[in-house]
Amino acid sequence: MVRLIVRSLVSVSLAVLLSSPGLMAHGLMSPGLIAPGLVAPDLIAPDFAVQVTDFRPVTEEMLRNPAPGDWLNFRRTDDAWGYSPLDEINRDNVGQLQLVWSWAMDESGAQEATPLVYDGIMYLPNPQDVIQALDAATGDLLWEYRPERDPDARRGGIGAQKNIAIYDDKIFGTTHQAHIVALDARTGEVVWDTQTADPSLGYRYSAGPIVARGTVIAGITGCDRYKEDICFLTGLDAETGEEKWRTSSIALPGGPGGDTWGDLPLEFRAGSDMWMTGSYDPDANLVYWGTAQAKPWARSVRGTDGDALYTNSTLAVNPDTGELVWYYQHLPGETNDMDDGFENILIDVAGQPSLFKMGKLAILWQLNRETGAFIRATDLGYQNIVDVDPETGEVTYLRAPEIGVEMTMCPSTSGFKSWRAMAYSPETNALYIPMTLNCEIATFGPIERVIGGGGTGPVRRADYRHPDAGDALGEFHALDITTGETLWRHRTRTPINTAALTTAGGVVFVGDFDRYVYAFDEATGDILWQTRLATSAQGFPVTYLANGKQYMAVPAGTGGGSWAGLIPRELIPEIRRPDHGNAIYVFALPDRR
């Protein structure tokens, strides 16, 4: 699987500045967006002596229908189920799981990683853009991509790298300096590197790409501050890195939907970031992306009562052209920091090709994924901010902030649901939803409406426990999507802190802030196994085969947003976690003797 190579140190010039005429054609970028002289840092190629051998290029067909033992996409499959057909580990034997190997990861940023696994190799996104290839059976390092940091460059955000993508013979990642990179999957060496935006303006990626029909697609974030440009989704040629298209996630003045921002000029239309990657339906040939809320958060602060398209929406985009085929705005004119920019789960229900989405309010949205038509909304019943009509999806605001006026709201701005993705089980027809339950006393404040200003807007906040949740901050909720009824729920003292992982073994895995990892019986909610890590379980667990044996890998670490920061610190200060310990832990059944 691996062989020795001579150590090499390769500097790759990355002065890849935007020149794609397609950007101008869309009218989304002005000449000179990228600061003159902005040069990306050199990269240091792997400086150790192994690589992946016998690598078989990943085909379109493999991506669309991954082998059972591989985890080839963000949530394994295009439909983002987070489900594995493996059943060697099952409800009868999961109690015997043992730690097989673990691996400490980069400590300089937030842990929100999803490993990819292909042919027994784990490709692991670390914080701050580091990507490693490990032997998935042993944890031996095969190569590492570690971009050299420009000490003068702005450090973009908390450093999370949620996912990477694989296609052909390349690994694709996105960076905190607003680059999309392609690495040789055998060696980790840079094949191409394309900068899509100016990081000095705050632009960066916190979610990785997906690949569909040879196009690498990624949505940018850091769109909160006022600037003379806006948020976008791009498609790059997987072979060359050339930008093929760019689609704005904000309606332009004078364009379709442009009047939903009132009279605000382009530079004061902020937000609509994309901090989770998309899903793909190859039959409809559409990719689905969630967008974040408008900025500043509150209508009264951002200066328009309009719907502010295409914020807080699900976008359906043609992956070949970038054409916006349909959109559905979940919360028009959202005003409490309750975004729906999370995972898009594609399930056919009673013959209806559906897309399921849950945002911070813990309202489960079901849309027709071919047309964008609303099908159903299921409110889990914890929020008190809106009334949603379950038959039409129409939203009526109960609590909209006014500047300087104290209000209470459930959830807090942390949300009941966040980036910790749900998983779906076809055996139970249930979604398994990682949640935290809490509320907030909030007073929203003003911003300066000037270039460089804006942002979320200040909020004087005091979090408090949800009145329905007792001593618990965490809830792992199994929801039957055919009935909309709760199958079971499990409360934990601290927030549930990983994505969910469902398996054909009848077991669903998840972890919490308090360092526990659990295996539940997916049908009953009984805990079948648990263990405890060095710090919070945090990230996206996966399962895979290596050398014919099933493994389950779960990331742990720090950072991770207010769920793992302010909320537990304020509401359950007696439970602490170490402030370091980014790592991945890999479990398997004992070998048969």
């Binding site: 908390i158 404040g445 911003i447 942002g455 979320t456 909020v459 920061g565 302010l566």
Partner: protein, 149 residues
């Protein structure tokens, strides 16, 4: 002399502005100075800038004007969040909760230096004395005296 002026200012502010319960408690019992009295030094702010860049800028941005999940620490935002509250309250909040991925992990001196940097970024004047461990509860964050009615 400076102390007297500060006390007078506090009285004026207390009369002119309704304040929160916490702020009222602080002003009545303890407050003797405001951030306009030169309560930190340039050197302390410079030390704080280095620490801010290392521990805070990723979320609050190098220009302190905030990011997707973190508020601006300057201008209207800072005045809204911390106006009529004391440096002691702000220091306590920062020390208790920041940085969010490793709260309380910096030394008290480092937190004070970062506080000095935030004060400088808000154009509050420097002085001869550094912010020290004692006395933060006696320093009020308030509007510029000239802007008072």
């Amino acid at each position: 002399m400076r102390l007297t002026a500060g006390l007078l200012l506090v009285v004026v502010i207390s009369l002119a502005h309704p304040v929160t319960a916490r702020g009222l408690q602080a002003t009545q019992a303890d407050v003797q100075r405001t951030v306009w009295d030169g309560v930190y030094t340039e050197g302390q702010a410079e030390r704080g800038e280095v620490q801010y860049t290392a521990s805070c800028a990723a979320c609050h941005a190098p220009d302190l004007r905030g990011d997707n999940t973190s508020p601006s620490l300057v201008g209207l935002s800072f005045a809204f969040l911390w106006g009529e509250r004391t440096l002691g309250e702000l220091f306590g909040r920062i020390q208790e909760l920041m940085p969010t991925d490793r709260p309380g992990s910096l030394s008290a001196q480092t937190y004070r230096d970062i506080l000095a940097f935030i004060l400088r970024a808000n154009s509050y004047p420097t002085g001869e004395q550094e912010l020290e461990a004692y006395g933060l509860d006696q320093i009020l964050i308030t509007e510029k005296p000239d802007s008072q009615p």
